[in-house]
Symmetry: C2
Subunit: 186 residues, 2 copies
DNA sequence: CCTTTCATGTAATGGGTTACATGATTCG
DNA sequence: CGAATCATGTAACCCATTACATGAAAGG
């Protein structure tokens, strides 16, 4: 665990993390970086394709070309041994906490400028959103837990399980916070 | 509460939120956007000065010039009535949840690639960081709560109090999550 | 036949960090 | 007298979003 110069960006490690779980096309990666992984790290395809090219240039990923359906060939990427080392290294590396940017809290921080009635509406909308996410996480966690591999610390599903558990706990705390806030306008 | 075209960026509303609590120089704003406000919205002075110029151009803030200490004049900014309206409007406006980017969770999501011993170390470091933040939030909350104005929904300290309370709850949940995780490698 | 999905890229723009640049006052 | 603080700005670069662009196969 030491401070290190990275060969890949944060997005690069998100992609390596996906490829460590299985080979995929840029298109596949873009979809997973919208939905399951996107809960904590989102990205669009326009960002993913150039990053894949960089990772390939650094030898952290490699690809086979299949004759594609569109105008270009389809590239199926996989992580290389060097990529696996880089990923594991990065997981264990120390890094100082990055600057946070939470739009919901920023909004609440100025909520004293509106009437209590408006304020309560804002909190209720936020509460509903947290509730939706909580339900989604719970459903996904149930699915992951149904697989016995999710108990094995060296299996990807183990990591899926603990990150989902974290999301769940965070959302539950946020819901309780919203309920508490609603009691604060007398 | 309707979807609206904003006159200011998110950073702009962070600045308006600060100025709504009192006049300040760009330098003052930069400091508060590092420490207390930086817990949920951080920014550097190189971003703040141009944004202040934009806000002034849009008539949302105004400034008085004092003969400054350095090579340039010191500008003390205050929010205008139009700025107050824009801020309150924005607080009540709907906006779809922005893409999340949480480096800590991204890292844990690939933790299955390292040995259980290394993994536990990673979680312990994260746990310590959450503990530190919790302590800081608790101290700040105690200070805010000592002021009776923090109970008045139309006073800025009310909003400081509820956002700190949220930070506290989130950190507490994160700590419990870390403790739970540590039980997961048998 | 039309829409969705698969599949890949590039260009323009905006947001944010790091580094460059200047200089007076205050504190040790 | 040197370092920290007050105080303001600009420039280069990186990261991310939106929009532009193309085209085949599959499904309704």
């Amino acid at each position: 665990m030491s401070l290190r110069e990275s060969t890949a960006s944060n997005l690069g490690f998100a992609i390596l993390g996906l490829l460590a779980r299985g080979a995929a096309t840029g298109y596949d990666l873009a979809q997973r970086l919208e939905r399951p992984v996107g809960y904590f790290w989102a990205a669009r395809h326009s960002q993913i394709y150039p990053e894949l090219a960089r990772l390939a240039g650094a030898g952290l990923v490699a690809y086979d070309e299949e004759a594609g359906r569109g105008p270009r060939t389809t590239k199926r990427y996989r992580i290389t041994p060097a990529g696996q080392v880089a990923l594991a290294d990065w997981v264990a590396s120390e890094f100082e906490p990055q600057p946070v940017r939470d739009l919901e809290v920023l909004r609440l921080w100025s909520i004293w400028t509106v009437t209590p009635e408006t304020a309560r509406k804002v909190v209720q909308v936020a509460r509903a959103r947290h509730g939706e996410l909580l339900a989604r996480y719970q459903a996904e966690l149930a699915e992951v837990e149904s697989d016995p591999d999710s108990g094995d610390p060296r299996h990807p599903l183990f990591a899926s399980r603990i990150t989902l558990e974290g999301g769940l706990r965070t959302r539950r705390a946020a819901l309780e916070w919203c309920d508490w806030m609603l009691t604060q306008w007398e």
